[in-house]
């Protein structure tokens, strides 16, 4: 009997040999060695490791799942990167934002009486003290609304200053921005890596610098 074919030996990896095949394997070291090699190959295939998907695979999948409505669109907290922030930190941040927003609103409203004072008045919305996550989220939304309104008012004042329509008090604006910077910095101390607070601080600092340059250019500087 000649050597067993590889295909036959491949069958014998997990099948019983016929008496003739068994007899040959007892006598033929080449075929016995080949069968052993095929067994090891099969074992090694069974031990092949898992394979990690390419980097960025989850982000693509997440976008697809979202576009098909299979996962929820992240809420306000998640979009602000606050979804995993501890509750006490969220509450503290909401309070700080509230203080910042109210402070800005008070300053703006005081110095912005007249037909365009509405935006400033929005900032004086009252907030209830957050006692739950939902309350804190509501406060954050309202604080954001106040902030946006205050910012709109700043831009309004800035535009009018550009066209020389009116001479608003830049020092009051600067003071309000300083207040907002301090509130943002306090919030960042509570949540240092938070993208929303860092963005808020950056934009407030930029606004403050613009205001400072205007004060400086107008010769109305007191420093």
């Amino acid at each position: 009997m000649g050597h067993l074919t590889r295909e036959t030996l491949a069958r014998l990896v997990d099948r019983q040999p016929s008496p003739e095949e068994a007899g040959h394997l007892e006598l033929c070291a080449v075929c016995a060695g080949e069968l052993e090699a095929l067994r090891r190959q099969t074992e090694a295939l069974g031990d092949l490791p898992e394979i990690r998907p390419p980097v960025g695979d989850w982000q693509i999948l997440e976008a697809r799942l979202r576009s098909e409505g299979l996962i929820e669109v992240p809420g306000l907290l998640a979009r602000w990167g606050l979804a995993h922030t501890p509750t006490w930190m969220r509450t503290a941040a909401a309070v700080l934002l509230f203080l910042g927003g109210t402070g800005v609103g008070a300053v703006v409203t005081r110095h912005a009486a007249g037909p365009n004072a509405g935006a400033g008045e929005m900032s004086q919305a009252t907030f209830t003290s957050a006692t739950s996550l939902d309350d804190a989220a509501t406060n954050l939304r309202r604080a954001e609304t106040s902030y946006v309104a205050a910012l709109a008012r700043y831009r309004q004042l800035l535009a009018r200053a550009d066209t020389g329509q009116t001479a608003e008090d830049p020092r009051s604006r600067y003071a309000a921005l300083e207040y907002l910077v301090a509130a943002s910095q306090a919030a960042i101390r509570q949540a240092p890596a938070d993208p929303f607070f860092n963005g808020l601080l950056a934009s407030t600092l930029a606004e403050r610098d613009v205001t400072l340059r205007r004060i400086s250019a107008s010769g109305d500087n007191w420093f």
Partner: protein, 186 residues
Amino acid sequence: MTETQLIRQAASGDGHAVRALYERYAPRVYAVVRRIAGDDELAQDYAQEAWIRAIRALPTFRGEARFSTWLHRIAVNAALQALRKGETRRKHEGPFPDQVAEPPKGGDVLLQEKLERCLDRLPEGMRRVLILHDVEGYTHEEIGDVLGVTEGTSKSQLFKARARMRDMLEALSDDARDTGVEVWGT
């Protein structure tokens, strides 16, 4: 959180729960799909399709089988159906490409790389049966179900595939002898 809770939350559209399931099972899903596809680019598409199908079907998961088994079946079917649709992989024909010099690797890692390379070069029919049987542990009956072939065909393809793999590994081991790493020399 238990897997059952994760599954329930994922079924209700909780993105964090879906992510947690993905983190847990993505390597297993990707591995089987990659080996069936025999191509990295196709594998990513197939794996994504498998996950979309699985998340879509999550509300119907009753826990009668293990979640990993259920997911694995979905992944295998997604890859096989995509291949049937004609999304063919790049052909791996001809001799093995020259190897770029790489740092020395452990025997197991080197062997696994060789096995993966040889798997990629097997003809489609043989590769699918070999992967499902020897890598994933399917029975011939199960292979017959998912591939739509008889058990006899499955067995025949398996033995041919094992023999072909052995041929290719032996060819590779000629090179390996030069570097001192052999693949089960006879």
